[in-house]
Symmetry: none
Subunit: 191 residues, 4 copies
DNA sequence: TATGAATGAGCTTTCATTCAT
DNA sequence: AATGAATGAAAGCTCATTCAT
C-alpha cells in the first residue's frame, strides 16, 4: 500500500518535471516513464490517461497550495492585509522551489489549456481559489481602512497578473523581491 | 507579385484566426487551408512549415504593433506619461479588434511557446519591444516627476502582467476599463 | 473522382481479403495497406477507422447480395419455390467466387462479432434480409402447396444454417452440390 | 494434489464463462482471474498461455461431451435412430445449461478460430467427434431402413449446421424445440 | 504457492509534409 | 501556381506475460 502510493508519487513528480519543462503537448508518456525510471505501461497502471495524470498533478498541487494558504492566513489572523498578501505571494515562490518547478502558475496554465475542457476545469478551480483568497484579503483591507475602495476583482486580477508576469520576464528585472512588487502595487506609480 | 503577396496575407490571416482559436498544437494545417479557402499544399508554397507560418504571423503582428506604438507616441509627444501608458494599453485592445482575435498577448504566448526555440525568439522580440516601450515611458515619467522613483523593469513587468491577466480572468470583473486598471496601477491600493 | 472511388474500392478489396483470411481482430491496418500496395495513412484517408472499414465492406456486400437476390427472384417469378431456393443458395456461392473469398457468411459473422455492437448491427441487417427472403419463399411454397405447413422461421434458420455449415465442414463431404443439399432439406431423411 | 486440481478447474470454469461471454480476443486474462477470484499471475501457474487455457477448456468440454454421447448411445442401443439423434441434440442443450454458457458450438467456434492453428485443431477434434457420431447414427438409420439412402456426410453437416444456426437466430423463432427441428430435418419441407 | 506490479511489443490513429499532376 | 492524395513517423494506450516477493 505504501509502495503503491510511493510509486504514484514518483510518477507524478517525474511527470510534473517533464510537463513543466516541455509543456503538455510536447510531453510524451515515454519520457515521463523514463524520467521516473520505469516502463511505459507502468504509468498507465497508476493513471488512466495523460490527461488524467495532468489533472491529478494539478489537483494535488492545488490541495497543497490551499493547505499552505489556509495555514498562513490562520497564522496571520491579526496582522495587516499587506502582510497577508505578501505571505500569499511568498508562499507560491516557496512552493515552486519545493517541487523544483519553473512554474505551475494558473494564469499561465489557463493560456495553454484553453482548448482542453477537462484540464481547463481543473485549472479554473485552482485559479478560482487564488482569486477568491486574494479578493478576501483585499476586501478585509478595504474594510479596515488599510486599502482604498478599489474595484476588488480588478485589483485581484492585476495583482495575480503582475506576479505571474514578473516571473516570466524576471531575466530583465534587477532586485526583484516579492516585497518590491507588493510595495509597487500598494503605493502605485504616482510620485 | 501583387497576387503572391495577397495570398500570403490571406493565409496569415486565416492562420492567425485558427491559431488564436485553437492554440498552436491543436491547429491543423488543413484547418488553416480551409479557413483560407485554399488547398493544403498551397500553404506550403508560401510558408516553409507550420512553425515558420506562426513565426511570420508574430513578426508581422510585431511590426504592426511597433508601427502603431511609434505613431501614438509621436502624436502624444507632449502629453503626460499616464496618457501615453493608457494609449499603449488601449492600442493593444484596438489591435485585437482589428485582427479579430481573442489575444496575441506576448505574456501569454511566452507561456505556450517556452519550448519552441524558434517561436520563443520571435515572441521575445515582441515582448522586448513592449517592455522597452513601457520602460521608456516610465523612465520619462520618473524624470519629469510624474511617477516616483520605482524599480522600472519591475513596474513594467507588473503593468504588462496585470493587463494580460485581467484579460484571462475578465469574466469575473465588472466595469473593466483600461482606465480603471491604469488608475489602480498608478495610485496603488493604499488608502 | 473516378480515381478516388477506385482507390476506395481497392482498399475495400484488400481489406476484405485480409479480414477473411485473418479475421477481424488479427487484421492489422498495416497489412490491409500493404496488400493494397499503399501507405498506412492512406487507408485513413478513405475510412474513418478499422471498424468503419469493415462496416463499409459489409454494407457493400449486402447491397450486392440484395441486388442479386432481387434480380434472380424477378427472373424466376413464375417458377417453383424449390427452384427459387436453389437459385438463392447458388447465388451466394457465385458471389464468393466473384469476390474471391472464403466466406462472408452472416451466420458465421454473427458469431465473431457478437461483441462489436457497431459491426453486429451491420451483420444483422444482412442476416435479416436473407432470413426474410427465405421466409417469403417458404411462405409462398406453403401457400401454393409445394411445401407442407412447417414452422417457417425455424425452417428458414435450418436452411441457412445447413448451407453455412456445409461450407465449414465441406472438406469431409463428397459430391457436395447445392442441389443435393436442397434435395435433402426438401425431402428429409425419412425413407 | 486435490487442491491443485480444484483450482485448475476453477480457472477453467471462470475462463469458459468469460470466453463465451466476450469471445476469445476480447477476453482479458485479468477478467478471467477476477471471475475466478484469484490473482492474475495464478492463471499462469496453471496454464502456459491464454491460448493453452482455451485449448484445455475445449479439450475438457470435448471429453465431457464424448462421455455424455457414449453414455446416451449405450442407453439407447435398441431404440430408433430418430430418438438417438434427438438425444444427441438434446444433450448439447443440457450441456450448455450445466456449464452455464451461451454456446460452445463447434460450428461457431470454427469460424472464430480459423486463424489460431492451435485452437483450430482442438476445435476440429471436437467437431470431428460430433460429425462422426452423427454420421454413425445416420448410417445405422439408413441400414435399418429408417432413413433413405442420403449423402451421409452432407446430411450430417446439414443437421449440425441447422441446429447451430437455430441457436444464433433463435430470437426470431417461435416454438423452437429440438423435436421440431429434428422433425423438419427428417420429414423435409415437401408437402 | 500465489500474487500483482512491472513491462514493452504491438496496435490504431493523427497530421505535417511531400510531390505528381 | 495550386492542389490534395499519399505518406510514415510518432504518439497514446492495451494487455499477455514475467518475476520478485
Amino acid at each position: 500500500m505504501r509502495d503503491k502510493s510511493k510509486k504514484r508519487q514518483l510518477i507524478m513528480e517525474a511527470a510534473l518535471q517533464v510537463f513543466v519543462e516541455h509543456g503538455y503537448e510536447k510531453t510524451k508518456i515515454i519520457d515521463v516513464a523514463r524520467t521516473a525510471g520505469i516502463g511505459k505501461g507502468t504509468v498507465y497502471e497508476y493513471f488512466e490517461s495523460k490527461e488524467a495524470l495532468f489533472c491529478c498533478i494539478l489537483e494535488e498541487y492545488c490541495e497543497y497550495y490551499k493547505e499552505g494558504v489556509r495555514k498562513i492566513l490562520s497564522d496571520l489572523k491579526d496582522t495587516g492585509c499587506q502582510e497577508k498578501l505578501l505571505s500569499v505571494i511568498h508562499m507560491e515562490e516557496e512552493l515552486k522551489d519545493q517541487v523544483h518547478l519553473k512554474s505551475l502558475n494558473p494564469v499561465q496554465l489557463m493560456t495553454e489549456f484553453t482548448n482542453f475542457p477537462g484540464l481547463k476545469q481543473a485549472i479554473q478551480v485552482m485559479l478560482k481559489f487564488k482569486f477568491d483568497t486574494v479578493c478576501e484579503i483585499l476586501n478585509e483591507g478595504v474594510k479596515n481602512g488599510e486599502f482604498r475602495s478599489v474595484n476588488i476583482p480588478l485589483a485581484t486580477a492585476a495583482l495575480m497578473g503582475a506576479s505571474s508576469a514578473v516571473d516570466l520576464i524576471s531575466d530583465e528585472i534587477q532586485d526583484y523581491t516579492d516585497e518590491n512588487l507588493l510595495d509597487l502595487m500598494i503605493h502605485g506609480l504616482k510620485a
